[in-house]
Amino acid sequence: MTAVEVRPEVAAPPAGTPYDRLKVVPARHPGRWVATALVAVVLAMVVHSLITNPRWEWDIVGAYLTERSIVHGVITTIELTLITAVLGFALGTVLALMRLSRSPLLQAVSWGYTWVFRSVPLILQLLLWYNLAYLYKSLDVGIPFGPSFFSFDTLSLIDKFGAAILGLGLHQAAYSAEIVRAGILSVDQGQHEAAASLGIPRRRQATRIVLPQAMRSIVPTAVNEVIGLFKGTSIVYVLALGELFYTVSVIYGRTQRVLPMLVVAAIWYVVLTTVVTVIQYYVERYYARGAVRTLPPTPLQRLRGNLTAGLTRVRALGRAR
């Protein structure tokens, strides 16, 4: 067998100069420059109008942004979101496991729950829960069809906040159930088999083997849902509950400063969403353990990397000129 002699590093340079002395000119992208310039102009126009148009009334935005009632509204929004997210995903996980169980009744109940709670509009559900006292004057804890031990007055148990939590949480559970179920189904069948062949107890299989792997596909969609909830809580203004949007609407109803108040609310929603997005990044990174050979960089590492890369490119450009 003869060796093939066309190895580029030993082939002679055409003009007699060694390759390492040749000058490298980076490829040019004129189209990219034009597009960048266009977008920059549009951006500048937007910023300019935001600053110069007095009707944005930035002074009022600034004054109300951290006003007490607004901050109180923000806190209520956070409380509503966190409680309903936890309630929704806890119940959703139970529903997903019921749906995947081998009992036809559990499957049917889970399916039925999702069907009903996804079908009825959220606003309608909220009002239904708020008016539960009309259907049942008191709620009893006791033996089914038998005597009761405790009795609660429905009206005092389910106040505005309770109705909001119930409405949002139960509605969210229907969606969460599908997300969790999809996550569980995404785990390779071989994982179930390996766990079963090792005799790992059923519950441990779920918590240690299947769910941690399912989390990889659950987290991005779940965060979507939590972000949706942050904004979705604004719908409970129909119950006159003092969360962010209701508070803002009360203020602009009184002061007639509609636009600046909407901007105040928008800024807060953006802040909340940003916080969740940052948390998402780290949660995803945590569950990526073992799924990728090397973990993706943290935003800080990436920023540093981008800066160095940018600098290198600028330097290279300078050298090319």
């Binding site: 390779d188 071989g190 994982q191 088999e193 390996a194 766990a195 079963a196 062949s197 090792l198 005799g199 790992i200 107890p201 059923r202 441990r204 240690r208 083997i209 941690p212 792997q213 569950y287 353990r289 073992g290 799924a291 990728v292 050979r293």
Partner: protein, 264 residues
């Protein structure tokens, strides 16, 4: 290699009996009544073309597949059932899981838990299924990983290991449960040729140590070196079985001859 005569087969655990096992998927029968006895301390290699029912048989032995007819027994204890007089009671999931720990199973596609390190893969089952103290199991797991040639890779996640290394972790994971019988389902079929050797070397070492093993494989050379008995399957039946030199070098059945002519 033949079983060492010093091994006392009467008291040693790991005797597997398969009686008239039948199994159908969606109405199509893939096992048409299989009988097989594996003596403790021996290595049985199951050969046969794809779709001949080898894997199904193996998976029936530790009840990953429920058989339609027939029985599997380990040391006289029925797998998947409890006998009370003349009636058989199907085991509950919990009892079944406990019974499965007596078999170690090594999969073609490794099926390591990707989110756990090599060490945690090995440690998980002895701790959660057998309730043994973690520290003790960890020390043992390290020794097992060393035994399969993976000392120093305890902290690696499966995806950071080569296929051959992953399969060796899977073998260590199965061994950690101190099973009576090890079942291998085409353990080298997902590996590139260079990595096959390192996995087979580990299995052959286990064979020399006298571990009871049933190995489904296409590696004829391995069968010749390590098997006490070679079983040839075709179309859901055992066509012939015997010592490797007999089945591999002097096959009696036409189907066996044809198969060996193609793979050798």
């Amino acid at each position: 290699m033949t079983a060492s005569p010093a091994i006392d087969t009467a008291t040693r655990p790991g005797r597997v009996e398969v009686h008239g096992v039948r199994k159908a998927y969606a109405g199509v029968e893939v096992l048409h009544g299989v009988d097989l006895v594996v003596e403790p301390g021996t290595v049985t290699v199951i050969l046969g073309p794809s779709g001949s029912g080898k894997s199904t048989l193996l998976r029936s032995i530790n009840h990953l597949e429920k058989v339609d007819r027939g029985f599997v027994a380990l040391d006289g204890e029925l797998v998947g059932y409890r006998r009370k007089g003349d009636t058989l009671h199907e085991l509950k999931e919990k009892e079944l899981l406990r019974q499965r720990t007596r078999f170690g199973f090594v999969f073609q596609s490794f099926n390591l838990f990707p989110h756990l390190t090599a060490l945690d893969n090995v440690v998980e089952a002895p701790v959660s299924a057998q309730g043994r103290p973690r520290a003790e199991v960890e020390a043992e797991a390290r020794a097992l990983l060393t035994r399969v040639g993976l000392a120093g890779r305890e902290k690696a996640y499966p995806r950071q290991l080569s296929g051959g290394q992953q399969q060796r972790v899977a073998i260590a994971r199965a061994l950690a449960m101190t099973p009576a019988v090890l079942l291998f389902d085409e353990p080298t079929s997902a590996l590139d040729p260079e990595l096959v050797g390192e996995v087979l070397a580990v299995i052959e070492q286990l064979a020399e140590d006298g571990t009871t093993m049933i190995v489904v494989t296409h590696e004829i050379g391995f069968a010749r070196r390590a098997a006490d008995r070679v079983v040839f399957m075709d179309d859901g039946r055992i066509v012939e079985s015997g010592p490797p030199e007999q089945v591999l070098d002097d096959p009696q059945h036409e189907r066996t001859k044809a198969f060996l002519a193609r793979v050798l």
